[in-house]
């Protein structure tokens, strides 16, 4: 499995025969992925919570209702169990359901699923967007959801028409029966979706696909071309405050001292305090009425950093270490037949070097937090809801079941949003101060 998810990606746990799970054959992987809601866990090592991923898997079987809403006005909303951050899942997953339902593409809508075990990746057993796994692992899952809903709509129509279900089919958003009978999905939906989900479903024959495999424009193109697409950073509650964190110039450095006098004198600045950050570091948080006073205040903090005990990372040294490591025995990523190389008339040797790249999405990391004594609501563009929840629980002192996590469209990620540090920097003081506060990390810091 390729790791596109950055440094806090869960470590792969070696299986008893010594092979790591990323060596599972593609065929075996697809087979595993096709068992919807089967509770398969691919041996993820979850720091401090490996039982959680397994427990999450004991969920009841996936029902169309959680993933699909057909409204009386004939709009069909697909709940997308992934983060949309440019890769197109808010178009591709609805395509799967539209295909199986027999819906018109124009009636399809998409929304991102909140945090919840029912939205786990069916193969990984956790709620995650990564490893290029959406289509690989949810292809059959979403088709089955669409096929189940199709069966329920047909059952409902056939019952009211008193005709055999086998005489009915769907197309263009309608159930079509014998003798010119026809009803729109919207007119049937309320009754149909109350029926029990079928135990097994019949998937469409791929030879009859009309949508899957066809170039299909993104559903969000218009909204993303006219400024109306809402991203996490655009979400506000009434009276939302903005918090920015002055972060250390190097990972793990701590605050030696800071002077908040000038910062607190800026109109609109409400509070300044030290916070813990990741890797044992610390920073200084500023809370203000809006971004601009918060930014001015942060720039006025005059923080002195303690970098004494921090690893000094050197790019040149790193490259030398990498080259040495590359010569050492390691895990084979892919077996290839290179026997012809010995006889080759011409051999080309090339070395490729890649610099250390920051996962710097264009939308700065951010979340909105609404805290009460008994609940935390968080709105964030996140790739890894299953791990965010315990991080938020730890930071807030509340229980995981008291936390609601709303997944927001994200302006890129490149794996960065798979690491819940946006929350962990809130640990200690922040959560108790920032009621209804948004946390924005300004870029470049």
């Amino acid at each position: 499995m390729r790791n596109e998810c950055g440094r806090n990606w869960p470590k792969l746990h070696p299986t008893p025969n010594g092979r790591a799970v990323d060596e599972i054959s593609r065929r075996g992987f697809l087979k595993a992925a096709s068992v919807v809601g089967s509770g398969l866990v691919l041996g993820f090592f979850v720091p401090g919570g490996s039982k959680m991923a397994q427990a999450a898997d004991k969920e009841k079987k996936i029902t169309p209702n959680a993933f699909l809403r057909i409204a009386p006005d004939d709009t069909i909303t697909v709940v997308v169990n992934r983060l949309e951050f440019g890769q197109g899942v808010a178009t591709s997953l609805p395509m799967l359901i539209a295909e199986e339902l027999g819906a018109d593409w124009a009636q399809m809508r998409a929304e991102l699923a909140p945090g919840g075990a029912i939205f786990n990746d069916p193969a990984f057993g956790i709620q995650i967007t990564g490893a290029s796994a959406t289509m690989k692992n949810s292809y059959t899952q979403y088709r089955e959801i669409g096929a189940a809903a199709r069966a329920m709509l047909i059952a409902c129509a056939a019952r009211s028409w008193q005709v055999p279900e086998s005489d009915c089919h769907t197309e263009h958003g309608r159930v079509i029966g014998p003798s010119g009978l026809s009803a729109s999905f919207g007119s049937l939906a309320d009754a149909a979706m109350r029926l029990p989900a079928p135990d097994s479903v019949v998937l469409k024959n791929p030879a009859h696909f009309t949508l899957i495999g066809q170039p299909t424009p993104r559903m969000d193109s218009r909204a993303k071309s006219n400024g109306t697409q809402s991203f996490g950073i655009d979400f506000k509650l009434p009276n939302t405050k903005v918090a920015l964190v002055s972060r250390a110039p190097v990972f793990g450095a701590t605050v030696a001292s800071f002077d908040a006098t000038r910062a607190l004198a800026i109109p609109g600045v409400l509070a300044v305090f030290k916070v813990a950050t990741d890797r044992g570091g610390s920073g200084v948080a500023v809370v203000a009425e809006g971004f601009w006073p918060a930014k001015q205040a942060r720039d006025a903090l005059d923080v002195k950093w303690n970098t004494g005990n921090v690893d000094k990372v050197d790019s040149g040294r790193q490259l030398i270490d990498y080259k040495a490591l590359a010569k050492a025995p390691g895990m084979v990523a892919k077996d290839a037949d290179v026997s012809a190389l010995a006889e080759a008339a011409k051999k080309i040797t090339a070395e490729y070097e890649f610099p250390y790249l920051a996962h710097a999405p264009m939308e700065p990391l951010n979340c909105v937090v609404e805290l009460t004594d008994t609940s935390v609501n968080v709105w964030a563009g996140t790739q890894l809801q299953t791990f965010d929840r315990p991080a938020i629980a730890e930071a807030s002192g509340l229980k995981p079941e008291q936390i609601s996590l709303n997944t927001m469209f994200a302006g890129g990620s490149f794996g960065r949003r798979a690491a819940p540090t946006a929350y962990s920097s809130d640990r200690e003081h922040c959560f108790h101060t920032m009621v209804n506060s948004g946390l924005v990390w300004a870029a470049g810091h």
Binding site: S221, K224, S225, N226, G227, F291, W292, P361, M362, A443
Partner: protein, 152 residues
Amino acid sequence: MITLNINGLEKHLDIDASTPILWALRDSLNMNGTKFGCGAALCGACTVHLDGRPIRSCVTSIASAVGKQITTIEAIALDKVGKAVQDAWVKHDVPQCGYCQSGQVMSATALLKSNDKPTDAEIDTAMSGNICRCGTYQRIRAAIKEASANIN
């Protein structure tokens, strides 16, 4: 109190005169179409028009916009060229994550309003301040050419 003309409407704001236009739009006026990327005029996500010219609203104070016309992504479709650009963006399926695209559309519109038949080189020059981390540059260029054809 500072008075700004935004999309043809007078807006009265009781905020610090040094506040960048970006934060007047987003925090004071709840106009979220203009995006915050870098805060340092390096990425172009915050591009708006000031008297028709593309500027980076994250580093342009509201004080400097007094008496001038600010146009944002929310109103650019009212302009014939802006509408052609947005339609071409949709036709070419330009956006991926989409976060930079408000700025891209504003820069492209400003380009076509001053030069309605830009060459590839002119497009690249005019758009060079707008970064797209998804890498949609080829489609941006194709969409600009499409919009150019449609307004001529």
